[in-house]
Each structure stands twice: as C-alpha cells, then as structure tokens.
C-alpha cells in the first residue's frame, strides 16, 4: 500500500492490475467521495521521497519528480527556475490542496482546467513512464491528447522540462478573486535562441491548445535585436492585440459563436477573455 521506493511501487502496480497509484489524492478522493470511482486497491506514492524533489540534468534540463507538490513549486527557489510553473502552482487552489496536490497527479488526472498543463505543454516537457523492467519517454502533449496514453501498469515518475532562461508567463482567468477553477488560462514563453514564441491556452478545451500559426506570425513581429535595450518597444501594441485575437480565434472556433443563444454568448465572452490573456501574456513577456 505504501511502497518506499520507486521499484517497489512499480512491482506493486504490476502485481495488482486494478490498483490505482495515488499521490496527493485530491482528484481521486473527490471522485471516490462522489461515488464515481471505487478503487480496487490504492498504492500510495507519498513515501517515495526521490519523486518529491527535482534535479538538474546536463545543463539545460530540469527533471521534476512527479510527487512535487504545488506548495513546493511555489517556493522562491523553484520560481527562479521555472517561473510560469510556479505561478500556475500558486494559483492552483487553496493551501489545503496545494500542500498535497502533485505535478504528476495534475498530469495523470488531465483535467481540462489543470493549471500546470498549459505550462508543461508550452515548455514542451516530456514525461518518463516507468513500468516493471523499463521506462519510456513521452511528450506531455502526446500523453494529454491520448496519442500515446499511459498504459496499464505504468507509473508517471519524472517530468523533464527544458530550461529556457527567458521570460515565461502564466495567466489565468477565474470566476472569483480567490483560488478557483480557471475559466481560461494562457501560458506563454519566449525562446530567444530560436526567435520563437510559444503559447498554450488551457481550460477552454479538454486539452491545452497550441495556436501554432499565431505563434509563428507574432514571432515575426517582434524586434528580437532590441531585446535587453533600455526602454525598447519590442512589439507594436496593435500587433500584440492582434496576436490576442489570433490566439482566441484559433482556440475558440467561429462555429462555437453560432451556437444557441446562451452558448454563443458564452463562447464570445470566453474568446474575449482568451484574447485579453494572450495579449497581456505577450506584453509581460516582452517587457
């Protein structure tokens, strides 16, 4: 029930096929309490201390344990490393949830409003899946979209995040001022080495969306050579606003606006929210 090492956990998972590996249990217990889930067995991952931290790997990558809690990701040392992920973790919920909810659980649950998911998508992270006798690497986006899902007996152990050393922003719109489920969220990072902008929109679709055309377009509008100069305007405000519209139009298709009256208005409002979030995220990243 409470294996102390990764190997034990993987063996236990192989031995009991119906068992559910559980770390923070916040999503799992909500389903159990509501009667949607009756686990045959639980394998607690809380005692696997190696998964609760992170480490550097060959310079440019941070390897994050799946058991890293949101509260831990919010701390300043981690925020200096991956600020967008720290912002997402900080806004993910109240302290009671953040103290136990983990990065791996957020990925495994793959809720549409999962706050770390757009950040991991935009950072193009890869997940390490362990099973008895081996591991494999899967891009987060493949895992989330079901292109290459978690197979029975596999355990999400590590998340590899390339470090960019460039501005990265996470913004989230919620229904109230306290911590709440996102109605829309935007993660945006700059990749100055490739002169690229990457953007992901969360909570508006079952999985985080990447508006690739808008990214490519706006990368051409940015004055990359002026980066670092004092008071330089890197992008025309009109272009930033147009980027917001572009992103919103890509993520909420025109078809959604023509729905029945209420749904159409809702989609229009959501599109405006996404547009504003994307414009602000770009503005903050380029400041």
């Amino acid at each position: 029930m409470l294996p102390a090492s990764l190997d034990e956990a993987v063996e236990a998972l192989a031995a009991t096929p119906g068992a559910v590996p559980v770390a923070g249990a916040t999503d799992l217990m909500e389903a159990v309490n509501a009667g949607r889930l009756r686990p045959a067995a639980l394998i607690g991952l809380g005692r696997i201390t190696e998964l609760r931290g992170w480490r550097y790997e060959d310079g440019g990558t941070a390897v994050l344990g799946a058991g890293l809690t949101h509260a831990r990701m919010d701390r300043p040392d981690f925020a200096a490393l991956i600020p967008a992920l720290a912002d997402a973790a900080r806004t993910a919920g109240p302290p009671q949830i953040r103290n136990v909810g983990t990065l791996g659980g957020n990925i495994a649950t793959a809720a549409p409003a999962g706050d770390t998911l757009p950040v991991l998508t935009v950072l193009e992270a890869t997940a390490t899946l362990a099973r008895a006798g081996g591991t494999r690497e899967v891009p987060i986006s493949h895992l989330l979209t079901g292109l290459d899902p978690l197979r029975p007996g596999e355990l999400l152990t590590w998340v590899r995040v390339p470090l960019l050393h460039a501005p990265q922003v996470f913004l989230k719109a919620t229904g109230r001022s306290g911590p709440a489920r996102a109605s829309a969220s935007v993660a945006l990072v700059l990749d100055p080495a490739r002169r690229a902008v990457r953007c992901a929109v969360g909570a508006v679709a079952p999985v985080p969306l990447r508006p690739l055309e808008a990214e490519a377009w706006v990368a051409g509008c940015i004055d990359w050579d002026a980066r670092g100069e004092e008071g330089a305007a890197l992008i025309d405000p009109a272009a930033a606003a147009a980027f917001g519209e572009y992103v919103a139009g890509a993520c909420i298709p025109d078809g959604a606006l023509d729905g029945p009256e209420g749904a159409g208005a809702l989609a229009a409002r959501l599109r405006r929210t996404v547009s504003v979030l994307a414009r602000r995220a770009l503005g903050r990243a380029l400041k």
Binding site: E30, P39, A40, G44, D87, P94, P95, E154, P179
Partner: protein, 433 residues
C-alpha cells in the same frame, strides 16, 4: 494514475451500498477470512463481507495510536476520524476540498481531511482540532476566534481554527494579505472573515507580547528599566515579571486581548522578514485600501477592534520611530506629567488624539434639513442638454465616451503577480499588458 481504468470489474460492485459509510460501527468480520497477502509484504488487503477491499491500520492522531479495523480503503480520513474514531471536530462540508471545514494537519501540513485516503495516512502524524490544546480548554486561537466574533453558526470554525493555527506556526506576524491568502481555502458564509482576520492579529500580538516580555525579563531587562521608568528601584524584577504574568495565556484562562508591545521594541519584529513579503506589496500597482475607520485610542492595540492602520504599517515596512520618541511605559506605571510638555508628540499624531479619552470620532447626525456634505444633487439638466445614453450591457469599456482606457474587464487571477508599472503612477495599457 489510470483513474479511468475499468476498476469496477471483478468482485467490486459499483452499485453496492456501502454499509460502512452509512453506519458508524466497524464492518463485520469477513467470513471468508483475509484476502491474499500483498506479494511485497505491505499491509494485507482484505475483502469485506460484500467484496469491498478493506484494510486494517493504525492512525496516530494527536499523539495517540488509534487502530482502525476492516475499513474500506476508499474511506477518507475525515470519515474515519468522525465515524470510526469519534473525533467529530472536523466537519464534513463539501467532500470536494472546496470548503476547508475538514482541515486537519497531516505530518504538519494543512490538508483537507476529506481528500486524504485514511489508509494511506497510516504512518503519518495526524493533528485535529481536538488536539490544538490540552485538557479540553480552548487554545489561544480558538479563544481569540470566539472573542473576535468569528463564530456564528460554527460549522467552519474547527477548520478555521486549524488553519489559523497552521498559519501562525509558519508566520508569526502575518500581514492581512498573508492571512487572507492562508485562509482562502476556508469558506465562511456567516461572519464575513473580518472577525477571523482580527483573531489572527490578536493571537499574533498576544504571542508576540509573550515572547518579548519573556525576552525582556531574561535578557534586556536593564535596557527596559529606564525607559519604562519603573517606580520600584529596590525591586528591579517587579515590572517585567508582572508583565509576563499578564501576557502568558494559561490553558484554563481565556486569553484577554493583549496591548501592543512598546513601539521601540516593535520595530524590528514588525518588519516583514525577507522572503515573506506579501504578494503584491512590491508592486506599485498595489494600492492599500484605506482603513475603514480611524483607529481610536480606546480600541488601538486590543486587536479586537479592527486596527488595520497598524496592519498597513506592517506591510509597507516604513514604520520608524521619530526622534525623541520614548516608548510607552509599562502597564501600571504611575502617570508622568512630563508627557504633556513633550512637544514632539504633537506633529505626527492625529489631532483627534488630543481630544483625550472618552471622546470618540462620532459626529451626531445633523438635524433634518441640514445641507449634506456629499455630492449635492443639483437638479435636472436644463432642457436641451444632449443625452448620452448608457452603453448596452456587455459593451467594452474602451468604446464608451468616458471609458476607462486600458481596462479590459478582466482582473488578473488570484496569485498572479502584478507588474510594477514602468511609467509612473498611471496604469496605461502596456502596464497591464
């Protein structure tokens, strides 16, 4: 992690009503005996009478080992505490982790008890609201909550007591913003949180006073003596010891709200320590809300009357004693007439203080017919004034004639850092962007 697996297969019937979750007694012993032992030697998974997976384990709650036998593995810690162990302090509000009424401490971490599988907490140290104080008396946090009017229906109170306890363990001098952020997971629909925040400040001040008087008595006693102007020169220990006796809350005595510590001693303690800055305090865009009412001499320092002026001082960290200021004398010191001749008291103090005690800031309601101070209604516009219609609901602000440029109607989400504005105090489009 594969929460979508067909887990309901096999012997587990999803439609089975779980008697263990309806009744409070332990599930009857399994007639078929214990199930197969886990091959790795973990605690055995058994199957109850109706085929549900069960487990027996021992919980360490408030320092006591409490055995739990044949409990369904899906039972939450909250359920086990309340129904099996009889610790009904934590309340069952939403079972979704939204309300915080079930807050307990597991290994020193504040968690929602309803979202912790009890079977997985078996080797953790669990602390509930019942364990906040020994001997059944109210702890200082609980007493302060009661004194501050933070209890109405009381359903959220155990969770709030645990959350406030946890907050003050980690942060001895929380600002109002920090307190609000720490308590944002505890919903209270009665009191409006004002009382809770006042209780946080009351306990923080009481504990701070306790610490400082303890230190004074032990270390800084000669330094404190001339400032306090202790009347008894033959008994130098008298004043500090007396203070300590007043400040230390005992377990059986309700904690009276403590006076604020002397200003000279308060300065260092009140500066927010590095790394614990309130979230928005370093941003120019963060505007402190004005205190709702001026701090009155009678309520200042009790911590019960909401003295947010003091809190603002904590946050900004610009609290400096002006030259020539001497600390407030210790409680019980005979009144010194030299106070009246000190001219340095006048400048920074609110003039209202000079009106003396007993007089409040209350102004009588003016007689009927008195002209109001506020915005005066100056009649309907003259005929022919062009009418500017109010824009339709949902119109973007920028499109209106007198629109607030730059505001998009979207407030940044909770916890997002506001960026300090680059171009001075005005918030332009790019500062928000």
């Amino acid at each position: 992690m594969t929460t979508t697996d067909p887990i309901d297969s096999g012997a587990i019937d999803p439609g089975t009503v779980d008697p263990g979750r309806l009744g409070s007694g332990p599930v009857e012993a399994d007639p078929r005996g214990p199930g197969p032992l886990d091959p790795l030697g973990f605690s055995p998974v058994e199957f109850g009478g109706d085929g549900r997976p069960c487990a027996s384990y021992i919980l360490r709650v408030n320092g006591f080992e409490r055995p739990v036998t044949d409990a369904w593995i899906g039972e939450s810690l909250l359920y086990v505490l309340r129904e099996r162990l009889g610790l009904a302090g934590a309340k069952d509000g939403c079972e979704q982790g939204e309300c915080g009424a079930c807050s307990v401490l597991v290994d020193g971490q504040l968690v929602a008890g309803c979202l912790v599988p009890a079977a997985l907490a078996s080797d953790s140290e669990i602390a509930t609201v019942e364990g906040l104080s020994a001997g059944g008396a109210a702890s200082d946090v609980q007493q302060a909550l009661a004194d501050s009017g933070a209890v109405q229906c009381g359903y959220c109170t155990p969770g709030l007591a645990v959350a406030v306890h946890d907050l003050l363990q980690r942060n001895h001098r929380p600002s109002e913003v920090e307190a609000r952020q720490a308590l944002c997971g505890n919903l209270c629909r009665c009191t409006g949180y004002r009382g809770v925040l006042a209780a946080v400040q009351a306990v923080a001040e009481a504990r701070g006073t306790e610490e400082e008087t303890g230190e004074d008595a032990a270390v800084a006693e000669p330094a404190a003596e001339p400032v306090a102007g202790a009347p008894e020169t033959t008994e130098p220990l008298a004043a500090p010891v007396e203070d300590t006796g007043i400040a230390q809350p005992s377990a059986t005595q309700p904690v009276a709200p403590q006076p604020v510590p002397p200003v000279s001693a308060q300065v260092a303690a009140d500066l927010p320590p590095a790394g614990e800055m309130p979230l928005y305090a370093d941003s120019e865009a963060w505007v402190e809300a004005e205190a709702l009412y001026p701090a009155e001499p009678t309520t200042a320092g009790t911590g019960v009357g909401i003295d947010y002026g003091t809190v603002t001082v904590h946050q900004t960290g610009i609290y400096e004693p002006y030259p020539g200021y001497t600390a407030t004398p210790a409680h019980g010191t005979p009144y010194d007439s030299s106070y009246e001749s000190q001219s340095s008291y006048e400048a920074p103090y609110d003039a209202a203080y000079d009106t003396g005690y007993g007089q409040s800031h209350y102004e009588a309601t003016p007689a009927h017919g008195t002209a109001a101070d506020g915005p005066v209604y100056d009649g309907a516009p003259v005929h022919g004034t062009p009418y500017i219609p109010t824009p339709a609901h949902g119109t973007a602000y920028a499109e209106t004639a007198a629109g607030y440029e730059g505001y998009d109607g979207t407030t940044p989400a909770h916890g997002i850092h506001l960026q300090p504005s680059a171009g001075g105090t005005s918030i332009s489009e790019d500062d928000h962007a």
